[in-house]
Amino acid sequence: MGSEFVLFVSAAIFSIGALGFVIRKNPLVMFMSVELMLNAVNFLLIGYSSFLNSLDGQIFALIIMTVAAAEVVVGLAIILTIFRTRHELDVDRINTLKG
């Protein structure tokens, strides 16, 4: 059962994360959906590394975690800066790049 279930769970969490990203307007929640997607991928990697008897998946997952950490920090700093200047927590209202 194991491998298909890993796939199923990972696909589900990934799709839910993608849905959350498109549906929500609060930038913080959107960011959290991104974290969800990354987590889903991590899970997939580790699950399959266990099935395939290799440590490459785990190492890749480790690297992904590192990248995700760095990305979160930078992204939150950006959201903070935007909030400081515009006092806006609605992503739809930040559209000066339009046209």
């Binding site: 993608a18 990203f21 498109v22 307007k25 959107m30 992503v91 739809d92 930040i94 559209n95 000066t96 790049l97 339009k98 046209g99």
Partner: protein
């Protein structure tokens, strides 16, 4: 030695380029004398060529072709940059550069007060260069190149005083009519190439006698098209209306271009292509007929004009008609002889008229002149000599050449009594208008005493005196001219000077014209008024040049302008502009539609990304 002949082209060209690039940096007079030196140099080289030709036997003098380099080399068509040195071209060049040099010297005095002095001389040198190209060309291609360049120089020089609106319009008119001639020439060149396979004079003229039946359709068409060019350039009916208006240019321009050289290019063309024209006798009749009709037409109009230059212009038209009559009846060398003598006395008359205008402070209406023989003696005498030569007074140059033409009109191969009769009438008219002009201008009392005319400086009167001398003795050069040019025209020359009766009739005609002028203008005013009253309707028609300008305006100019206007409003604005603008507008609309996509909202972009991902995965899974 013949390779020195390139200098004839290069010296005036260097003069033109040097004056146009560096002219402003040097003092005015230096530029003027530099231009004269260039043309004088060209004249000397031409004399050298003459001597060189004389060192050979008459039969060898033809077909000296100097090639600079082969320009177009391809199968079926090749063209070299080459010039042809033969008696006809050397003869023509002597006239062009000789009279041209005299006119350059004259212009130094005439244009002295003009602020565009240097530009004038640059253009004059350009003209000499262009005319030399035309004369020296060894094939039809460069003939047409020279033809067009000469038209350009004429345009630039007629419209020289750009602030004078009438001058600019006249220049445009001259150029447009010239272009009509150019079109005819080019089509003729195409047909020549089609029939002969080459544009070289040597090849074409050698093949001409055997390539066609006489009066064959194609040779008729070729010669007719060449004629269109010749008539446009030489101001014969019906392409003549530009010549009187061309008098808006400075007088030296009128002397050089519209008396001595450019307008005679048509005659030169017919003489050069005599091999072609002799194969088309019908065209020869046409040439003679048009020539003699123009002679009468121009003579009649010239009898009643009041602008001194316009009278001389119509006289030029008339005399060229004589030249065409001569080449039309088959005596080419007589036509060229008249070309030479006409260059002498017509340039003299124009320059003397210029001297009068200069002395009368730019007054050109002869009704305001009179009694100038005391104020301007040298001009008076030279003008008299020129008038005598023009009218054909015995022993002057004009007498010899005109006599030969009038007699050939009857005796020559294609002559007949009608041509002769019309020629006699034209001779009478010539005498009349020439001396009418002379009497109005120089005799009697001054009609505007406050004008205070003065004699012109030496730099202007010296060429007058040289030309007067040539007008007196030039007639005796006749036999030399005929003998020199005979190899070009088939090697034979028949002298038609046999009938003493015809000679006397011709001289009598000339004298009758002169006496009529004396009768009307020298013996009191009431004669003139009486004559005018009697001939009032005829007078009106003549004065308005038979209304030909008005007819052309109605038939041609107005429809063309109407078409232009129509095309601009309909085809251009509504058609082409509209459709191009519409394309631009549509592009803008489409881009406006597409730019809605770029909303700036992150969520929409994310949705796009998801959609893209889905589509790609779809392809990946199902392919």
């Amino acid at each position: 030695m013949y390779s020195l002949s390139w200098l004839i082209l290069l010296l005036p060209l260097a003069g033109f380029l040097g004056l146009s690039w560096f002219g402003k940096r040097f003092p005015k007079l230096l530029g003027g004398w530099f231009a004269c030196a260039m043309v004088g140099g060209a004249f000397l080289v031409t004399l050298l060529m003459l001597a060189q030709l004389y060192s050979e036997s008459p039969a060898d003098r033809l077909n000296h072709v100097q090639t600079l380099y082969p320009w177009i080399v391809s199968e079926g068509f090749s063209l070299n940059l080459s010039i042809l040195i033969d008696p006809l071209s050397v003869f023509m060049l002597l006239i062009v550069t000789g009279v041209g040099a005299l006119i350059h010297v004259y212009s130094i005095g005439y244009m002295h007060h003009d602020k565009e002095f240097t530009r004038f001389f640059a253009y004059l040198n350009l003209f000499i260069f262009a005319m030399s190209v035309l004369v020296l060309a060894a094939d039809f291609f460069f003939l047409i190149v020279g033809w067009a360049l000469v038209g350009l120089a004429s345009y630039l020089l007629i419209g020289f005083w750009t602030e004078k609106k009438s001058a600019v319009l006249a220049a445009r008119k001259a150029f447009v009519m010239n272009v009509i001639g150019d079109v005819g020439m080019v089509i003729a060149a195409f047909m020549i190439f089609e029939h002969f396979g080459s544009l070289n004079y040597v090849d074409v003229f050698k093949a001409a006698p055997t390539a066609f039946f006489p009066n064959d359709d194609s040779i008729l068409l070729i010669t007719f098209l060449l004629l269109v060019g010749a008539f446009a350039k030489s101001a014969q009916i019906p392409l003549h209306t530009w010549l009187p208006d061309a008098m808006e240019g400075p007088t030296p321009v009128s002397a050089l271009i519209h008396a001595a050289t450019m307008v005679t290019a048509g005659v030169y063309l017919v003489a050069r292509c005599n091999a072609l024209f002799t194969m088309a006798p019908f065209t020869m009749y046409l040439i003679a007929a048009v020539g003699v009709m123009t002679a009468i037409f121009a003579g009649s109009v010239g009898m009643v004009q009041y602008d001194i230059k316009r009278v001389i212009a119509y006289s030029t038209m008339s005399q060229i008609g004589f030249m065409f009559l001569a080449v039309g009846v088959g005596v080419f060398s007589i036509g060229m002889f008249h070309l030479m003598t006409h260059a002498f006395f017509k340039a003299l008359l124009f320059l003397a008229a210029g001297s009068v205008i200069h002395g009368m402070a730019d007054e050109q209406d002869i009704r305001k002149m009179g009694g100038l023989r005391y104020a301007m003696p040298i001009t008076f005498i030279t003008f008299l000599i020129g008038s005598l030569a023009l009218a054909g007074f015995p022993m002057t140059a004009g007498f010899f050449s005109k006599e030969e033409i009038v007699m050939s009109a009857y005796n020559a191969q294609y002559g007949n009594i009608v041509f002769w009769g019309m020629a006699i009438i034209a001779v009478a008219m010539t005498g009349f208008y020439t001396f009418r002009l002379f009497f109005y201008t120089f005799m009697g009392k001054s009609r505007t005493p406050e004008a205070k005319p003065h004699e012109s400086p030496l730099v202007m009167t010296a060429p007058l005196m040289v030309l007067a001398g040539l007008s007196l003795v030039g007639g005796f050069l006749g036999p030399w001219v005929h003998e020199f040019l005979s190899p070009v025209f088939g090697g034979t020359f028949v002298d038609h000077h046999d009938d003493a009766m015809m000679e006397i009739i011709a001289v009598a005609a000339a004298f009758s014209g002169i006496l009529a002028a004396v009768a009307i203008y020298m013996t009191g005013k009431d004669q003139l008024a009486f004559a005018k009253q009697m001939l009032a309707p005829i007078y009106e028609a003549l004065f308005n040049k038979y209304y030909i300008d008005e007819i052309y305006d109605f038939l041609i100019v107005k429809p063309v302008k109407g078409i232009g206007k129509f095309m601009e409003e309909r085809a251009e604005k509504l058609g082409i502009d509209f459709s191009i603008d519409e394309i631009g507008r549509q592009v803008r609309e489409v881009s406006r539609g597409i730019s809605i996509w770029q909303s700036g909202k992150v969520r929409i972009y994310a949705l796009n990304m998801v959609a893209g991902m889905v589509t790609i995965l779809l392809f990946v899974i199902f392919m």
